[in-house]
């Protein structure tokens, strides 16, 4: 006998479990299907969460090293790699088990296994305990994404890693090449470099973190140049081959690099992610997959099959957990009969390097491309009390503002804790706030959040801590 649910959610990442829990809260009978033992998805198992646990450790190591400048010297850190891995795994287990028990409390039926759609209202799930047939009125596809594989860069060797195996930290290699200067590559590169690896980064485009404003990236780049052995820009990897009888990997480069052939202990490929849209049995529905691999949806996240929705990485860029959760709530509200629409004005992006980079709304580059009349107000952290007290004056806060009205169109922050600061920018943009609003809001002193207020003051030529002659 097949069980009938009002909603089945396929994929239990931050999109899927958010959808299932919200739907349960709204009184629906819900099943959540995933291959893992507990909900969590890439984010909790092999993405945001484990990488942040490792980056926290890296930050502690780094700060201990810098403490010498403040008159406190520690001996060289000794890293117990098994224990470190254990800490990271503990974080993952705790969070996924937590989400699993929340699912139980909400009476969401969790079905472990691999799903095959058998039509627009049914699926069969092959799990460890046998096959379960599910019938449903509505389906939300939240199947996520996987690391992009490049055929020319694949090599049958454990020394070639992707973000998933990289997070396992099999060892601390003497040398590591990170292919891809995006956020995944830079975050993992930071972890390995801090643990003691000689890390090189190779990026095909002229700069790290393509898409982010250059002035923000510049703040990070200054520090990364010290942390990494080399950063090769405008450079392509054309070949990888085993070297030293399998003990290393020989990499052939093309582009702006002198040394066209180099040998590394390990190579980490971090060149982006692809949507998991090859869902078994999807062809039994009217769901359409676009040429770029994303499932096509409308503004309500409804696919071409009216009772099926898609959210998260599989439904389009940007592939970010918080975007997925928000889409999930929209889809559930639509299923519950509300007129919800996915229409964020700002989706924050955070790169958890040290310093962090975060932005939301329009970037300066996007503002230029859009033809909007805009102004940029910047506040360098060197003038801020709080930044000096933590010895991190390397920071920049900027506002992209509509000329005339001062309406906040975009916010960018580079510096320690930027990821936490950006939330205020998102709220400001969503509320349609102006620079004047931000200026008139009292910010606590001494904190880094003052940089947002001070940037707004810069716009009016009235910043307390930056002298800028008044505009006429």
């Amino acid at each position: 006998m097949a069980d009938t649910f009002q909603l089945v959610v396929l994929g239990a990442g931050p999109g899927g479990y958010a959808a299932a829990f919200y739907a349960a809260d709204l009184g629906m009978r819900v099943a959540l299907v995933d291959e893992e033992k507990n909900p969590g998805g890439v984010c909790l198992y092999r993405g945001c969460i484990p990488s942040k646990a490792l980056l926290h450790v890296a930050k502690v190591i780094d700060e201990a090293k810098h403490a010498g400048n403040w008159g406190v010297t520690f001996t060289e850190p000794k890293v117990d790699i098994d224990k470190l891995r254990g800490f990271k795994q503990g974080v993952v287990d705790k969070l996924t088990a937590g989400v699993g028990s929340i699912a139980k409390m909400r009476k969401v039926t969790f079905v472990q296994g691999r799903a095959t759609l058998t039509g627009p209202t049914s699926m069969s799930v092959a799990g460890p305990g046998g096959t379960t047939e599910l019938q449903f009125e509505h389906l939300i596809l939240a199947t996520g994404s996987h690391p992009t594989k490049i055929p020319t860069l694949s090599l049958d060797s454990p020394r070639m890693m992707d973000s998933t195996s990289g997070l396992e930290i099999p060892d601390v290699p003497k040398s590591l090449l990170v292919i891809g200067g995006g956020y995944i590559g830079l975050e993992l590169g930071t972890v390995y470099a801090t643990l003691g690896s000689k890390v090189s980064v190779v990026e095909m485009t002229p700069g790290l973190l393509p898409g982010a404003d250059r002035d923000l990236v510049g703040v990070l780049e200054k520090r990364l140049k010290n942390l990494f052995a080399s950063i090769m820009l405008n450079t392509k990897v054309v070949k990888v081959a085993l070297a030293n009888e399998g003990a290393g990997i020989r990499v052939t480069f093309e582009g702006d690099v002198a040394d066209k052939e180099q040998v590394f202990d390990r190579v980490l490929v971090a060149v982006g992610r692809r949507p998991n849209s090859k869902i078994p049995g999807l062809e039994t529905t009217k769901v359409k997959v676009a040429a770029n691999g994303f499932i096509e949806t409308d503004a309500q996240r409804r696919t071409a099959e009216p009772n099926i929705f898609a959210v998260g990485d599989v439904a389009g860029e940007p592939m970010l957990a918080h975007k997925a959760s928000h889409e999930a709530r929209v889809a559930v509200e639509v299923i519950a009969g509300h007129k919800a629409v996915f229409e964020p004005q700002a989706i924050p992006a955070v790169v958890f390097t040290d310093p962090e980079i975060a932005w939301c709304g329009m970037t300066e580059v996007q503002a230029q491309a859009s033809g909007i009349d805009f102004e940029v107000a910047k506040f360098p952290w060197g003038a801020l009390g709080r930044a000096i007290t933590i010895d991190r004056p390397d920071g920049l806060t900027k506002l992209i503002l509509e000329k005339g009205t001062g309406r906040i169109l975009g916010v960018g922050v580079a510096g320690s804790g930027a990821g936490e600061l950006i939330a205020e920018g998102v709220l400001a943009i969503e509320m349609g706030a102006t620079a004047e609003d931000l200026k008139l809001v009292i910010h606590p002193h001494p904190t880094l959040s003052e940089t947002l207020m001070e940037s707004a003051e810069v716009f009016f030529g009235q910043s307390t801590h930056v002298y800028k002659p008044r505009r006429k």
């Binding site: 009184g27 992009t148 490049i150 020319t152 292919i179 891809g180 200067g181 995006g182 956020y183 995944i184 990026e203 095909m204 485009t205 790290l208 393509p210 898409g211 982010a212 392509k236 990897v237 054309v238 582009g255 971090a270 060149v271 982006g272 009217k286 770029n292 994303f294 096509e296 949806t297 409308d298 503004a299 309500q300 071409a304 389009g316 860029e317 940007p318 592939m319 009969g337 509300h338 007129k339 919800a340 629409v341 996915f342 964020p344 004005q345 700002a346 989706i347 992006a349 709304g361 996007q366 491309a369 509509e402 009205t405 001062g406 969503e430 509320m431 349609g432 102006t434 004047e436 609003d437």
Partner: protein
């Protein structure tokens, strides 16, 4: 290669649901050969081909909702087709109106490119910039579109700033059907508050002409939210069928637009009943069913030639009364899918046998979903006979743009006082078969006294069947 598109199907018919596709790829189709069965708002129509040749491609399937102008088939021309050229021209026009694809400027970092990462290129986000033609201004809560709906912008500052309003205000506007972009914001930099949205809604409502169907605008309906029926027990939601939806819209409009008055009377149908029984067999042989309805159609046809204001329509906009020089009588038919009103044309020039045969044919078509829209339009006055089911009187709604409708209930035997029954005998009560009649009319066109005169005329015509032959 010629495309066959859904042709104009009749007045006010914009499209329908595909019930059946009657050809396959490889079939040969001829001009006027039915290729598609389409359920439109009121009728199921067999759509004849306007092209001839071999079918190369079938672009619709059962269950699709398609509109007039949609491409159904492409055929390799066998015989040249007059419509082919214009169809192709039209196709070109619509192509230009549909989707344009725009490259997403500035990619977030997770899409960062790596050397040799040919397939990791930033994904071009397909976005529909211009709306496809003929979309309703407000998306229905549960759009069941066959075509993939337009992709929403991903919002992260991609499209330039939208109306400056907080997420909660944008949601309010959406819920009550207000386009946020049209609201004038009263706050700094034009920021839109909840009060601004409500004020805008009030303005729209007060600008709607009173009395006319506009009163039932989306806004007015949208502001009256339904309670959550689930609170009191299980409920089931089902989409309205096309016929139910159109009936609902049509009757709401008629009810709102027409100041209705209903008058009642009784006719002694003893004589006409006797005649009906007498000639039933004869009419049956001719293929008709001699019913009270058939006889009343004929009586009404004569009645409206004597009372022409009952065969008219009113044009308030131009301040004109439109009198019809033809006599068409609509007959309400109860089907399993809902109420349909086929029309007997030129009823004043047909005898009761002919009318009986025609009603038989139209009723059968209505039940088999074969009625064409043409067969249901152009009525001058309608008749609704519920006598077969029962009841005494009811208040039918005038079938706009007509101005009157006759409701017929069940004949009952009543004692009627006859002051001169039997020559030389005492006056007494006699059992007579009394037919209850309800006449609803548009009081803008018809005065009460005229309506009573009209109804009395009908009553007398029933009581004195010979009158028809005498003066009709």
């Amino acid at each position: 290669m010629t495309e066959f598109k859904v042709p104009e199907l009749g007045e006010n018919v914009v499209g329908g649901d595909v019930m059946r596709v009657m050809v396959n790829v490889g079939d040969t189709v001829a001009h006027d050969q039915p290729v598609l069965e389409l359920e439109t708002d009121k009728a199921t129509i067999e759509v004849p081909s306007t092209v001839a040749g071999t079918v190369k491609e079938v672009r619709v399937k059962k269950g699709d909702k398609i509109k007039v102008g949609a491409v159904v088939l492409t055929v390799e021309e066998g015989a040249a087709s007059g419509n082919g050229a214009s169809a192709q021209r039209a196709a070109k026009d619509t192509d230009q109106k549909t989707a344009k694809v725009e490259e997403k400027p500035g990619a977030p970092p997770q899409k960062s490119e790596a050397p040799a990462a040919a397939d990791a290129k930033p994904v071009a986000e397909a976005r529909v910039l211009s709306m496809p033609p003929r979309v309703t201004p407000e998306p229905p809560p549960a759009p069941v579109a066959a075509a993939p709906p337009p992709r929403a912008t991903d919002g992260d500052g991609q499209r330039g700033p939208v109306a400056p309003a907080s997420p909660a205000v944008r949601r309010l506007a959406r819920e009550i059907g207000v386009n946020i972009d049209e609201v004038q914001g009263s706050g700094p930099a034009g920021r839109i508050s909840q009060e601004d949205v409500k004020e805008h809604a009030r303005r729209i409502l007060s600008s709607v002409p009173t009395g006319v169907g506009g009163a039932a605008s989306t806004l007015a309906r949208a502001t009256r939210a339904l309670p959550d029926f689930q609170k009191w027990g299980d409920v089931e939601r089902q989409p309205l069928s096309n016929i139910r939806r159109v009936t609902a819209e049509h009757l709401s409009y008629a009810w709102n637009a027409i100041p209705h008055v209903t008058q009642f009377d009784k006719a002694d149908a003893t004589a006409i009943e006797a005649l009906r029984k007498e000639f039933k067999e004869q009419v049956a042989k001719a293929g008709g069913n001699l019913t009270v309805t058939a006889m009343l159609v004929r009586i009404l046809a004569t009645a409206v030639t004597r009372f022409p204001q009952f065969n008219a329509s009113i044009d308030m906009e131009r301040g004109e009364l439109i009198s019809k020089k033809y006599v068409n009588v609509g007959v309400a038919v109860d089907t399993d899918r809902g109420l349909l009103v086929p029309v007997i044309r030129n009823a004043d020039r047909k005898n009761i046998t002919e009318i009986s045969i025609e009603i038989n044919q139209l009723a059968a078509k209505a039940r088999d979903r074969k009625l064409t829209v043409e067969e249901m339009s152009g009525g001058g006055i309608s008749i609704s006979n519920l006598g077969g089911i029962g009841g005494t009187y009811f208040t039918p709604i005038v079938n706009w743009p007509e101005v009157a409708i006759l409701g017929v209930s069940r004949t009952v035997i009543e004692p009627v006082w006859n002051p001169e029954s039997g020559r030389g005998k005492e006056p007494k009560f006699e059992p007579r078969q009394m037919l209850p009649l309800s006449l609803s009319y548009d009081h803008r066109v018809i005065d009460g006294a005229d309506a009573m005169r009209f109804l009395r005329w009908v009553v007398e015509a029933i009581e004195q069947p010979f009158l028809l032959s005498l003066i009709g």
